[in-house]
Amino acid sequence: MLKQLKRPFQYKKIPLQLDEKVSLGKKAKSKDMGATLKRIWTFLSYNKSLLFLVLLMVLISSALALLGPFLVGVAIDEYIVTRNSDGFITLLAGLAVIYVFHSLSLWFQNYWMIGIAQETVFTMRTKLFRHLHKLPIPFFDKRQQGELMSRVTNDIENVSSTLNSSVIQVFSSLLTLIGTISVMLWLSPLLTLITLIIVPLMFLGMKWITKRTGKLFKEQQKNLGELNGFIEETISGQRIIKTFSQEKKVIAEFHEKGEKLRRAGFWAQTYSGFIPKLMNVLNNLSFAIIAGIGGIFALNGMISIGVIVIFTEYSRQFTRPLNDLANQFNTLLSAIAGAERVFDIMDEEEEFKNEKDLKELSHIKGEVEFCNVSFSYEEDGNTVRNVNLHVKAGQTAAFVGPTGAGKTTMVNLLSRFYERDTGSILIDGQDISLVKKESLRKNMGFVLQDSFLFRGTVRENIRYGRLEASDEEVEKAAKLANAHSFIMKLPQQYDTVLSQDGSGISQGQKQLLSIARAFLANPGILILDEATSSIDTVTELKIQDALQELMKGRTSFVIAHRLNTIQNADKIFVLEEGCIIEEGTHESLLIHEGFYYQLHGKAAVGAHA
């Protein structure tokens, strides 16, 4: 029993460096908080009149909240202490009216504010979403998806919840604070000053606590994050853990990490638990001070009992808003930081920015030409140097070469996911930098390496190639893509719902679906990024057949990872370190006995081995 009683005081302390400045203040300073607030304001002020009404209601409710207790004090002084009942009814009726209006004004302010806040968040979300879709591919390639996701979900949520509660609370807290102190000063300046003694105490106490809790909570979050990662890793690694019988080992490790979290959590919670206790003791103290010292004053006839009653009520009304403000300050800061991160994205330059005067590209034949095209990615040294190539309409061109040679880059440049640095790329003789990007892409069909599927039915996923396609057209495309037979074996055929990661169908089947999509789109230029992941042979054969069919009659670019698939290409471009080093058909390149021959030789030797 004694052991249990002692236990809470035996947690090892977590060393904290408290002499550095409180991080909150620093964070707020480092970025331009004012500008962010202003921007939030522009979002809020879409409906200025309603916002004005809310503020008016806050003003009214705060005033009435002050008036109520005041009149109660008056009632006690004038009527109850003096036992006078003339006009008492009128006073009570007045008080009743005040109470009703107080509640009404509270209700209205909340009702309207909820509308404003949700509308604001709605607009922000939609704007952000719209903007995201206008950002160029490099933006997405540079960023971690998880981090981006957290911005568009958590950060906006953060703003949302703050707008819901904080705006009103901050205003009403401020108003109440000012109002309370004014009335108190008016009633008895001396008693007010004495009551205010607790304010510096409160600030000191809060500062002492928050200095510690801020760091401790960070520590706790860090430990929680680590635990989170560990759980994730060990659950997705179950197969390994089980077959290697390492359950005990990971449990022991989990135990250790959990223990760390417990310690950090204990200290964070203990310290933060002091805050309400501090507020309480100060509340009680001020109550005692008012009652005691007010009593002495009353004895001397300086104030009345009613004033004491008013003061005891008011003292609560000003410690509460102070506490609220302190709390709101933290949420507000984190919401502002969140909004900042959201605005960061909105400030990214969109890729369609200077396109207004450009032409639309329509109905192309499919002749493609690269003239002296050079390009380099900012972050790594991967480049494409001085590339010249010419592919006639309807031809199939293939890019081969080792990883990092620039195969994917060529396609990125052609579709203008990335912009070439110098040189020009022509389609049907038209420089593609002089047409609208979306019109360019509309003329292209893509079968990408990772066949992305949306949550939805098989039919919807194929129809993504052409939204207005009829059911018959969808099925026809699926048949052309050799996908029809496996789709018919799915539980609900074309209406089978696929999850986003496409579980339930294999990698190869996913590819067939994305080929069907491309059939439906019926593009002038086809871009094909061969899948690297291993696909079983039977499906692979189906894919090859479907692709041959798809490439018929249109200009096609194939990024080839395996060589046996491109032997029929009209032109093979062999890339190394961003340059085209060989060019020709399969046969001519083999005769040439260059790099392609070597690449090919390797594969053939492997097959013989």
Binding site: P276, E438, L448, D536
Partner: protein, 592 residues
């Protein structure tokens, strides 16, 4: 009516909640201390108005400074006593809640580690993670708050009413008539609001999932120029969220104004009757003041109350989600009659009429499969996706139990062996090479904790990864996994092969784990594997790998289609011949 269903739900949830709360048992003394301390605070809070009434009635009204000083002093002392109690309470409450969270989390984790794969299929990884982190944090916070303030609100209401009765029965009656109605009102709003917020949460999930889908599919969306289509789709779900949130919040925000109005009108009543009674029945002024004061405190407690109900309903949901995992029956464990003495010594594998379907599905994945593999043999398994290759593998270390037939290792049914004994001798390399956060060395020795550096190096050399490791910044101490260096797919595969080799397994299972290797490296690797005296099973898509094996098993649609070495299969199996031709290309035809 809504209220009754709410109570009913509360009781149903209560059972599971009770199970979770039983984790508090080891800390019952600390819990008791925390509650006692909280009670101390509460008492102080409750006697404050009473003390003030004394100051007014005994001091001011009687013109007695001494009395004012005395009662004022008591008030200050009481405040400090409450503060001290509160501070100590913080320690106990934090200890209880953190330890409680720690214990629940640990038993949850242990439970999950004992899960079979069928169990795992019930719970997506992400959901298990949220249960172990968010849900437990939620419960932990609820425990903490209960020990500190939650109990306070209802106690304050009851205590406040009680004290009011002590002060003046008739005036207190006004308060006590209203209070039950307020309780009912709050429960009703909260019950309704709770279900509305659940809907809001679902709508938020929908919005976020569209977001996520769009972020990961951005290349495709851009390629197909579907920007407007996506924006339209998003705006729809976003609107739903907005409207739902507005509806739910507006309902919740009705509570405060109503609550305040009712309690304020109560105060009016107290003043009215108070004034009459002061005149007629000699009620003291201080008593009226005290009752007014209790009314304000009760109002404040009520407003906390709505927050508590919300927290509890959230905690209940979390408790449900946690117990759901804890109550899951593990369907794969050592049998009561499993024999301790059985281990894998030779590595003979025998399947007799094995059929298998995944638990909870209707389709047979493997049907009537029989074969024998002798110790030391190397066997390749070939077949289309979905033919059942991986499923067949999983039966060997008993990750799943067979539906029919028997799997025997060294002549013993695998179900008769202790799982740990069985798996200790099996080296498994899965399709997707998964590494754990840590150094290269740790990852390899993961397969055998007491592995010496010599053993680790030997395994890496044979797995053809030693040279690569030596080129890493800190060689064997280089960190991989989260926050570690990026390894290519092929490097990861070879590391995970090294991890299996270091155990010196009797049975080595390679599930298409050489797919990312080039031909030369793969050939070297397979050559090195021959040094190990173990039975090797290789799932592969590459004919070139299969040719190397002693024997090839060809699976199709869950059935064993053909069996034999390369040459004999070329003659007997049409499918095998087709696969061979498709892979080897034009010039390799001559090879056949």
């Amino acid at each position: 009516m809504a209220f009754y269903t709410y109570i009913l739900q509360l009781q149903l949830g209560g059972l599971r909640m009770a199970r979770i709360l039983s984790y508090l048992k080891p800390y019952r003394i600390a819990v008791a201390v925390a509650l006692l301390l909280m009670l101390t605070e509460l008492v102080v809070e409750l006697i404050q108005p009473l003390l003030m009434a004394k100051i007014i009635d005994k001091g001011i009204m009687q013109n007695d400074l001494q009395e004012v000083m005395k009662w004022g002093g008591i008030m200050v002392g009481a405040s400090f006593a409450a503060f001290a109690a509160g501070v100590i309470n913080s320690f106990y409450a934090a200890h209880v809640s953190q330890s409680f969270g720690f214990d629940v989390r640990k038993s949850l984790y242990e439970k999950v580690q004992s899960f079979s794969f069928a169990n795992f299929n019930h719970f997506p990884t992400s959901s298990l993670i949220t249960r172990m982190t968010n849900d437990i944090t939620q419960l932990q916070n609820t425990v903490f708050m209960s020990l500190r303030i939650m109990m306070r609100a209802p106690l304050l209401i009851i205590g406040g009413l009680g004290m009011a009765f002590v002060v003046n029965v008739k005036l207190a009656l006004i308060l006590s008539v209203v209070a039950p109605f307020l309780f009912l009102f709050l429960f009703w709003v909260m019950g309704k609001g709770g279900s509305m917020f659940k809907e809001v949460q679902e709508k938020l999930d929908a919005v976020n999932s569209v977001m996520q889908e769009n972020l990961s599919g951005i290349r495709l969306i851009k390629a197909f120029v579907r920007r407007k289509h996506e924006v339209k789709r998003f705006t729809g779900t976003n609107k739903d969220l907005r409207d739902g949130t507005i509806k739910a919040l507006r309902l919740m925000e009705v509570t405060m104004p109503v609550l305040l109005l009712i309690m304020n009108l109560c105060i009016l009543g107290v003043l009215w009757f108070g004034s009459i009674q002061v005149n007629t029945e000699g009620v003291k002024v201080g008593e009226v003041v005290a009752i007014v004061n209790y009314a304000t405190r009760i109002t404040a407690a009520f407003s906390i109350f709505s927050w508590i109900i919300m927290a509890f309903s959230r905690a209940r949901a979390s408790a449900n989600r946690v117990t759901e995992v804890l109550e899951t029956e593990v369907d794969l464990a050592d049998l009561w009659d499993s024999r301790k003495d059985l281990t894998v010594n030779e590595g003979k594998i025998e399947f007799t009429n094995v059929s298998f379907q995944y638990p909870g599905t209707a389709e047979m994945v493997l049907e009537d499969i029989s074969f024998k593999i002798n110790p030391g043999e190397t066997v390749a398994i070939l077949g289309a996706t979905g033919a059942g290759k991986t499923s067949l593998f999983q039966l060997i270390p008993r990750l799943y139990d067979v539906t029919g037939g028997i799997v025997k290792i060294d002549g013993h049914d695998v179900r008769k062996m202790k799982m740990e004994n069985l798996r200790r001798k099996v080296g498994f390399v899965p399709q997707e090479a998964l590494l754990f956060t840590g150094s290269v060395k740790e990852n390899i020795s993961w397969g055998k904790e007491d592995a010496t550096m010599v053993e680790i190096t030997a395994a890496s050399v044979n797995a053809q990864i030693h040279e690569t490791i030596m080129n890493l910044p800190q060689q064997y101490d280089t960190r991989v996994g989260q926050k570690g260096v990026n390894l290519s797919g092929g490097q990861k595969q070879r590391l995970s092969i090294a991890r299996a080799l270091v155990r010196m397994p009797k049975i080595l299972l390679l599930d298409d784990s050489t797919s990312a290797l080039d031909m030369k490296t793969e050939a070297k690797l397979l050559g090195a594997l021959k040094e190990y005296t173990c039975t090797t099973l290789i799932i592969t898509q590459k004919i070139s790998t299969a040719i190397e094996a002693d024997r090839i098993l060809l699976l199709e649609d869950g059935k064993l289609l053909a069996e034999g070495d390369h040459d004999s299969l070329l003659k007997t199996s049409g499918l095998y011949k087709r696969i061979f031709q498709s892979q080897s290309g034009e010039e390799n035809r001559n090879y056949a």
